[in-house]
C-alpha cells in the first residue's frame, strides 16, 4: 500500500476505510456534489467559490492600483474608478473574507476536530452554500448592470438617490447575510451538542473556540445588517422616508445601523484567523499552547466587546462628545484581548522546537502584519488623530494590514496546513515558502507606503491626486504586482500538488488534534466510531515515523 499511514494499533476512531476510497471518490457525478450533505464537500465547494471571488476582487484591486500609478487619468474615468473600488470592497468583504475561514476551512475541519460525522444540521449547511451562490449571482448582476459606485458601505443619502444598481447589490448582501447566519447557527449547535467524550470545553482545539466566538457574532450581528438593507431597499423603492431628510428621515441613522453590524463583522473576519494561528504556532513549535484559557476567553471577549465600538467609524459624523469619548475608550479596550493572544503565541514559541514549514512562515507573517495593523488601529481610535486620518489612506492601510496581512495570511497558512488532509497530497515546501516570502514583501511594499500617504493627507476613494503623492502611489502599485505574483505562485504550488504531489500520511505535521487521526483525505463518513479526545496540544502522544513519513501514535 503506497503512502497511507496506517499505524499498527489503530487508536479508537481511526477510520478503517478501504484504501483509496475517500470523500472525494465515494460518490461520483455532478449531482452528488450539488446535493451533497457531506460537510467536506460543502467546504470544498465554498473554497472554490471564495477563491474565485478573491480572484475577481483582486482583479478590481489591480485595476485600482494601475489607475493610481499617475496622478491624472490612466484609463478610468472618475465614475468608473468609483465603481471599481465599490465592487472591490463589496466582493472582498461579502463574498470572500467573511465566509472564507469559517465556511471553507471551518466547515471541513470542525466535525473532524470533534470526531463527529458531520455538523448538526447538514441540510442547513448545504442551504448556506446555496445562499452564498445566490448572493454571488446578485452581486455579479450588479456588476454586469454597472453603475454601482456608492462604496461598499452604501452610505445614504447617495445610495438612496443614485440611479445605480444599489438594489441588486443590497439584495445580494441580504442573501449572503443569511448564509452567514445559518453557518454560525450550525457551528454553535455542533460545538455545544456534538463534542466527543473527553472533550470538555477547555479540551477543545482553540480553532473551535475561535469558530464559536465567530459564530456568536455571525448570529447576533448579521440580522441587524439584514434589516438595515431591507430598510435601505424600502427607502430606495418606496421612499418610506427613514433615511431621507427631505421626508423627515435621518441619514446618520443608516450609519449607526450599518456599523452596528459591520464592526462586529471585522471580528468575524479576524477571530477564525487567530484560531488558525493558535494551531499553527503550537504545532510548528511542537509545544503546548501557552495560556490556553487566556486565548479561549479572549476570543469571547473580542466577540462581546466588538459589539460596543461601532461608533468609532463615525467620529466625524456629528456624534456627541460623550458618545465619541465612550466609543474611543471602548475601542482601546477591545485591542487588549488581541494583544493577549499575540503574547501567548510568542510565549508558545519560546523554547519550542520550531520548524519553518510553509504554514509556520504564514503564521510568523501574520504576527508581524496583524501586529502592525492592530497598532495602527489605535491611531484611528484616538479622537484627536482620527479627525485627521479619517477617510485617508491611513485607514485603507490599517484595514488591509488586519484583513489581508491578518485574515488572508492566516487563511493561506491554514490552507497550507490542512491541504494534505483535504486532498491527500503534499506540496513543494521550497516553492510554497518562496511564495510566502514574495507575498510578504509584496504586501508590505503595497501597503506600508499607504500609511505615509494617509498621514500626509491623501484621501481615500479618490481617482486623482496631487503630484506630491505620486512616488508613494507608484511604490504601492509595484508592490501590488509583486503581491499578485506571490499569490499566483502560492496557488500554483497548491494546484500542482493536487496532480504531482507526494501522497500525504494521516498526520504529516504531528498535531494530536482529532482531524489527523483519520486518513488523508478522510473517508466519507469521517470516523467509524466516535473517538475519545485527549489534550489537543500534548505532543508526547505521537512521534515521527520515517517509514510512514508522518507522525504516528506512540506505542504504549
Amino acid at each position: 500500500m503506497s503512502g497511507y499511514a496506517m499505524p499498527h494499533d489503530s487508536p479508537a476512531g481511526q477510520a478503517t476505510a478501504v484504501p483509496g476510497d475517500n470523500y472525494l471518490t465515494h460518490d461520483r457525478g455532478l449531482w452528488s456534489w450539488v446535493f451533497t450533505l457531506d460537510h467536506k464537500r460543502i467546504g470544498l465547494m465554498y473554497l472554490v467559490g471564495i477563491l474565485s471571488s478573491f480572484l475577481l476582487g483582486g482583479i478590481f484591486a489591480l485595476l485600482i492600483r494601475a489607475e493610481l500609478f499617475t496622478p491624472g487619468k490612466m484609463f478610468l474615468t472618475e465614475n468608473r474608478y468609483n465603481e471599481m473600488f465599490t465592487l472591490h470592497g463589496a466582493i472582498m468583504t461579502f463574498l470572500f473574507i467573511i465566509p472564507s475561514i469559517p465556511a471553507a476551512l471551518g466547515n471541513f475541519m470542525l466535525p473532524l476536530m470533534l470526531g463527529a460525522k458531520d455538523v448538526a444540521f447538514p441540510r442547513m449547511n448545504l442551504a448556506s452554500f446555496f445562499l452564498w451562490v445566490g448572493g454571488a449571482i446578485f452581486f455579479l448582476m450588479a456588476l454586469a448592470m454597472g453603475g454601482l459606485d456608492t462604496g461598499w458601505t452604501f452610505y445614504t443619502p447617495y445610495s438612496t438617490t443614485t440611479s445605480g444598481t444599489v438594489v441588486a447589490a443590497t439584495i445580494g448582501a441580504f442573501i449572503l447575510g443569511f448564509s452567514s447566519i445559518f453557518t454560525g447557527l450550525n457551528f454553535i449547535v455542533t460545538i455545544n451538542t456534538m463534542r466527543p467524550p473527553g472533550m470538555t470545553w477547555f479540551k477543545m482545539p482553540l480553532f473551535l473556540w475561535s469558530l464559536y466566538a465567530t459564530s456568536i457574532i455571525q448570529l447576533l450581528a448579521t440580522p441587524v445588517l439584514g434589516i438595515t438593507l431591507v430598510l435601505l431597499t424600502a427607502e430606495k423603492l418606496f421612499h418610506i422616508g427613514i433615511f431621507d431628510p427631505k421626508l423627515g428621515g435621518d441619514p446618520v441613522l443608516y450609519q449607526h445601523f450599518f456599523w452596528f453590524y459591520s464592526h462586529p463583522a471585522v471580528y468575524i473576519m479576524i477571530l477564525p484567523a487567530m484560531g488558525i494561528i493558535s494551531e499553527l504556532v503550537s504545532v510548528f513549535s511542537r509545544k503546548h499552547i501557552f495560556g490556553y484559557r487566556f486565548i479561549a476567553y479572549s476570543s469571547i471577549a473580542i466577540a462581546v466587546f466588538g459589539f460596543l465600538v461601532w461608533g468609532h467609524h463615525m467620529f466625524v459624523s456629528g456624534q456627541s462628545r460623550l458618545a465619541a469619548i465612550t466609543f474611543s475608550a471602548l475601542t482601546f479596550s477591545v485591542s487588549i484581548p488581541s494583544a493577549i493572544k499575540v503574547f501567548n503565541w510568542l510565549a508558545t514559541m519560546y523554547k519550542g522546537s520550531i520548524s519553518l514549514a510553509a504554514p509556520m512562515c504564514y503564521a510568523l507573517s501574520f504576527m508581524l502584519l496583524f501586529g502592525i495593523g492592530g497598532l495602527t488601529g489605535l491611531f484611528l481610535g484616538t479622537l484627536a488623530t482620527d479627525v485627521h486620518l479619517h477617510d485617508t489612506y491611513f485607514v485603507v492601510a490599517h484595514f488591509h494590514y488586519v484583513m489581508m496581512g491578518g485574515t488572508l495570511v492566516a487563511f493561506l497558512g491554514g490552507l497550507h496546513y490542512w491541504w494534505p488532509k483535504m486532498f491527500g497530497r503534499m506540496y513543494s515546501e521550497r516553492w510554497s515558502r518562496i511564495a510566502c516570502l514574495i507575498i510578504f514583501v509584496g504586501f508590505n511594499l503595497t501597503f506600508l507606503p499607504q500609511f505615509l500617504l494617509g498621514t500626509r493627507g491623501m484621501p481615500r476613494r479618490y481617482a486623482r491626486y496631487l503630484p506630491e503623492f505620486q512616488s508613494l502611489h507608484q511604490m504601492s502599485t509595484i508592490g501590488s504586482l509583486v503581491l499578485a505574483s506571490g499569490l499566483f505562485l502560492a496557488a500554483g504550488v497548491l494546484l500542482y500538488a493536487l496532480f504531482k504531489g507526494k501522497r500525504a500520511p494521516a498526520n504529516p505535521w504531528g498535531s494530536p488534534s482529532l482531524e489527523w487521526t483519520c486518513s488523508s483525505p478522510p473517508p466519507a463518513h469521517n470516523f467509524d466510531s466516535t473517538p475519545t479526545a485527549g489534550d489537543p496540544y500534548d505532543y508526547s502522544v505521537n512521534e515521527y515515523s520515517a517509514e510512514a513519513e508522518g507522525y504516528v501514535a506512540v506505542q504504549k
Partner: protein, 337 residues
Amino acid sequence: MHESAISGAPHAGGEGHSHGSEYHLAHHFETPRQQFDAGKLGMWLFLVTEVLFFSGLFAAYAVYRSNHPEVFVDAHKYLDKVLGGFNTIVLLFSSLTMAWGVRCAQLGQKRGLTWCLTATLICASLFLGIKAVEYTHKWDMGLYWGQAFAPVAEGALHGGHGHTAWLVYLSIPAALALLGFAVRAVINRVRGRQEAALVAFCLTLTALAFFVGVGLGKAVPAVTSKLLPAESSVPEAAPQHGQAAALPPTQQLVVGDPQAMSGISLTAIFFSIYYAMTGVHAIHILAGMGVLAWLLGRAVRGEFTDKYFGPVDFVGLYWHLVDLIWIYLFPLLYLIH
C-alpha cells in the same frame, strides 16, 4: 483506550439502522436525545436572530418617536384599537392551540395534534384577513408610507370613503387557495387517499378563515362605531398641544420649515414604520403558516410519536415568538395615548 458508549437509547449507533428510522435519527447523531437537544438549541438561536432582525425596526421606532412624540400620538388615531385588540386575542389563542398541539405530540395523540395545528393555522389566517382589511382601508384613505402618503382631504377618519380594488387583489391568493384545497380534498376523498384528503380539508378551512377575518374586519368597526362613543377625530386625548387641537382632523403636523421637507407631513414617517413593522411581522406569519402546513402533513401521516416530536416542539417555539412580537407591536403602535 476504548470509546465509552454514549448510548442513551438502546439503539444508539452511528449509521441509520432500521431501528433508528422510527426515531428519525439522523446518521450523524449518536442518540435521539442528542438530536433533540441540537434541534432545540438551533431553534432558540434562530429565534435570537429573529429578535435582532426586528430590533432594527424597534430602534427606528424609538428614534423617531423620541424625536417626534406628537406625531406618534396624533397618528395612532388612524389605527383601529378594536381590530388590533381582536388580532391580539386571536394570536394569543393561536399560541394556546400551538402549545396544546405540542402537548398532543408529546403524548402521541395524533388526532389532537392534527386539530391543534389546524386551529393554529385558522387563527393565523383570521389574523391575516383582519390585517388585509386594515391595510386596504388605509390605502383607500391614501394613508401610504413615506413619500406616497396622501391622505384623503375630506371625509371622516372612519367610514365614508371610496373603495379601491386592493382588498380584492389581496383576497385572490386566499381565494385560489380555498378553491385549490377544496378541490384537492374532494378528489383525494374520492380516490380513497384519506390522509391527503384530511390535510387538504384542514387547509381549506384555513383559507376560509381568511375570509371570515375579512368579514369580521369589515363588520366590527361598523358595530363598534354604534356601540362605543364616537371616536373624536380631534386628538383631544393627547396632551394639549395648542396647535394640534386647533387643527382640523385631517390636517397633519408639518415640520417647521416647509422648504426643508418640501411640505411632506411627518405622519408619513409613522406610517412607514407602521407598515415596515407590521409588514415584516405579517411575512413571518405567512412563513409560519407554511411551516405549520408542512407539520400538518407530517402529523396526519403519523410521523410524530411520543418518542419523536422535535419538529412540533421547535415550530411551536417559533410561533410563540411571532406572537410575542405582535404583543410588543400592538401597544407600541395602537395604544399610544
